[in-house]
């Protein structure tokens, strides 16, 4: 099946099995290795990307879902102004540990700041509750996102 979509602001077309997972399309066909597979069942958020501006777990979406849509991955978002601001905040708080879940956290944080951005701990906790981190205990992640909300406004 031929599918066309916008990937990190660039129009792309690819011939792919319709049932191939979006995560595999990104990693194998576009060599975008930022999204990670940790659980393979949409539970942990390590494979999060933006589909038409909304965070989705790419391990449980099929390639066909991408047809005609706009996909943004960590590789694209990290180059934006807001993306860079968020990265600086995570860096300053030493929030990152093993880093395997972080591209996912980064995208969920970016989405929250872009669509709401209020420096409100409870809202941030809810916005990030689809992403699992086993290393940090989340405290430094909250701190980073609070800081990013403050700076983005």
């Amino acid at each position: 099946m031929k599918i066309s979509f916008t990937l990190n602001k660039q129009a792309v077309t690819i011939d792919v099995e319709p049932m191939k997972r979006l995560l595999d399309v990104l990693r194998e066909d576009f060599n975008l290795l930022g999204a990670k597979e940790a659980c393979g069942e949409g539970e942990c958020g390590a494979c999060t990307v933006l589909l038409n501006g909304e965070p989705v777990t790419s391990c449980i979406l099929n390639a066909a879902h991408a047809d005609g849509s706009e996909i943004e991955t960590v590789e694209g978002i990290s180059q934006t102004e807001l993306g860079k601001l968020i990265i600086d905040c995570f860096d300053e708080t030493n929030a990152v540990q093993c880093g395997f879940c972080f591209p996912g956290f980064f995208i969920s944080s970016y989405h929250y700041i872009k669509t709401d951005g209020e420096k409100d701990l409870n809202k941030i906790k809810t916005a990030l509750s689809g992403n699992i981190c086993r290393c940090t205990g989340y405290e430094k992640i909250f701190e980073s996102v609070m800081l990013a909300c403050e700076r983005a406004n």
Partner: protein, 715 residues
Amino acid sequence: MKCVKKFDAIPKLDGSWKFIDDYSYDDMLHGQLLYSTCHHGYIKKINFPANYNLSEFTMVSPKDITGDNIVPEPVCDQPFMVDKEVMHFGQVIMGIAHPNRKLLLKFIKETKIEYEELPAITDIKECLDNEENHFGKETIIDHRTKKEPKGEWIHHHNVYYTPHQEQAYLEPQGVISVYDPKANSMFVLISAQCPFFVKSGVEAIMGDAVSEVIIESPEGIGGAFGGKEDFPSLFAGISSLLSYKSGKPVKMILERVDDIQITTKRHPARVELDTWTDPITKKIKRCRIDYRIDAGAYQTLSPVVLARGVLHSISGYSVLDTFIRGRLFKSNTPSNGAFRGFGVPQALAAMEAHIDRIAADLNINPYEFRKINLFRIGDEFPTTQKIVEEHLSDCLERVIQKSDYHKKVIEFAEWNKTHKDKKGIGIAIGYHGGGYTGNGEKVLDSEVKVIIDKEAQVKIFVANTDMGQGAHTTLAQMFFEAIEHPREKCWVQLPNTSKTPNSGPTVASRTIYIIGNLLRKFAFQIKDELKFKNLEEYVKTHQNEFPKEFHKKFVPDKSVIFDEDTNVGIAYKDYSWAACVTEILFRADTYKIDLKKNWNVMDVGKVVNEKIAMGQAEGGITQGLAYGLSEFFYKPGFGRANGFTGYTLPTSLDLPEMNIEFIHTDSEIAKGLGEIPMDFPAPSVRNAFHNATGVFVDEYPMIPERLFKALEENK
């Protein structure tokens, strides 16, 4: 106490940092494990599905092993692949490789194995309650006095259980083996904690078939927590055999469901406690501990976990007359292995709950009771090791003060009178010995290497991996701060066993404690020897001396003498200490515990990088709280939990407001920090539940079903 930023944070955030699955080689095959789905029995037949071209697959079984079919471990009893008898669910039967990973997974799923089944033990209590079901050797600490217990002393007897716990590192186990026929060498890139352990594993399975084995770490290791200590030896052994047989690079990444079902877990435990307490002085006068852990089907490294558990099983209390007996029990479940805490969380789960039980019975506040019985300077551990500092007591006092414990006990009791939901507050203490137990560090004989080049770039070579704990940032910081050199000119190199000396495994809270303090000393020594004030200036004016290579070995303190047969002597030179208080709200309608607030005070000695240390503490405490509260395999041994959907990890919405403070940070040395945060939080939740409801729960995790049962039984 500077907060140097992590060197790898930005590439980890923008997705450019490479983890094992992000590497690939030309003409690479994908490997997977075919494992048993029977708990115990003999394999009668393996039926591969039809409609596949078998010649496209590379398969390895024990007959392909060119070396030995035994994984090198403290006890060498586990085969790489089933030789005759299947001993547990998830035991590796074959390694299979194919160019197409998806097709390979489908092929394995469709492969059916016929067994002659034998009786099996898969239930934790069936395993641990049976007196006869152990491996034989006991670990005993005998600190008995010959005095008989006095009649007025009050005897408390109780049994405590703790379940398996899954490490749940976010990155599943992964390895790439690359056999080079020209050099007859095996190169292994692996997400593992201990490159030299993996080297021994690959050398064992390959035997003389290859002349050199090199193990290297990828840029990123996506978490480990003990789960990538010993399993990688078996895993890399099989991927290497596949690469050797096929002549091609083989990448093996476990699916999450497989990872959860076949890899090592925290040992389930049964701890039986008998104490006798003087009702007048409230001193515990006599203690008997029967500490049992389920090793799984093989012993592997379990004796080491057992020893550490036994050594910490008295918790922080001074009891003159003590006898501790530790044993390993057998079950038909995968061998249990290392997990942050290494036997100590199980030990404290029992003793810290027991203390509250006695306190309740003697009608004394749990804080007061702890205070009366806590170690004092001059007291002895049951091993006869003298207590030389009262920092545990300092941790307890500080956490009580910070949490406003006394006021809350009264407030909550009042609030609970008029509310269906109940508030509770609980205490727990803990400690953890740093580094290998007893003479272990002498045996390890750790060595580090530093190369300073003509541009004054410092390269540090250690075998210790950075699996997210920030070790490579902190180790470099300890060196460049001591030698007074710019941060951007001092880097820890990625471990590679052909370039890196063996500075020991990345385990036992030893990386900063042993290797970090060694690097710091080493930096001072180099500075003294070369007599410079500024390294850059020195290198500029002495160009002919560089590049220069320096080596240093860890020399253990001579006073550390430990008899491993009798468990007498100094088990650990330095201990980290901690105390915590947790506040909960018990929901009467849903039987759910909400964690509200949690205070922790810890003495881990010098804190090198406060933010990294704080992150470690927060992460460990989270794992500790979840161990007591929610993490659970519903069917141990079979199927266990199907991935992260069934195994409930805490999310950002499940945690309390956390407050952590490090004390006695003016110490000269950085002590162990990795494990202690995991050890002590869980019992504080159990004790808080008792404070809220008056009911004790003797088994983790405190899931609603269990709380319901406990409350019904106590009606």
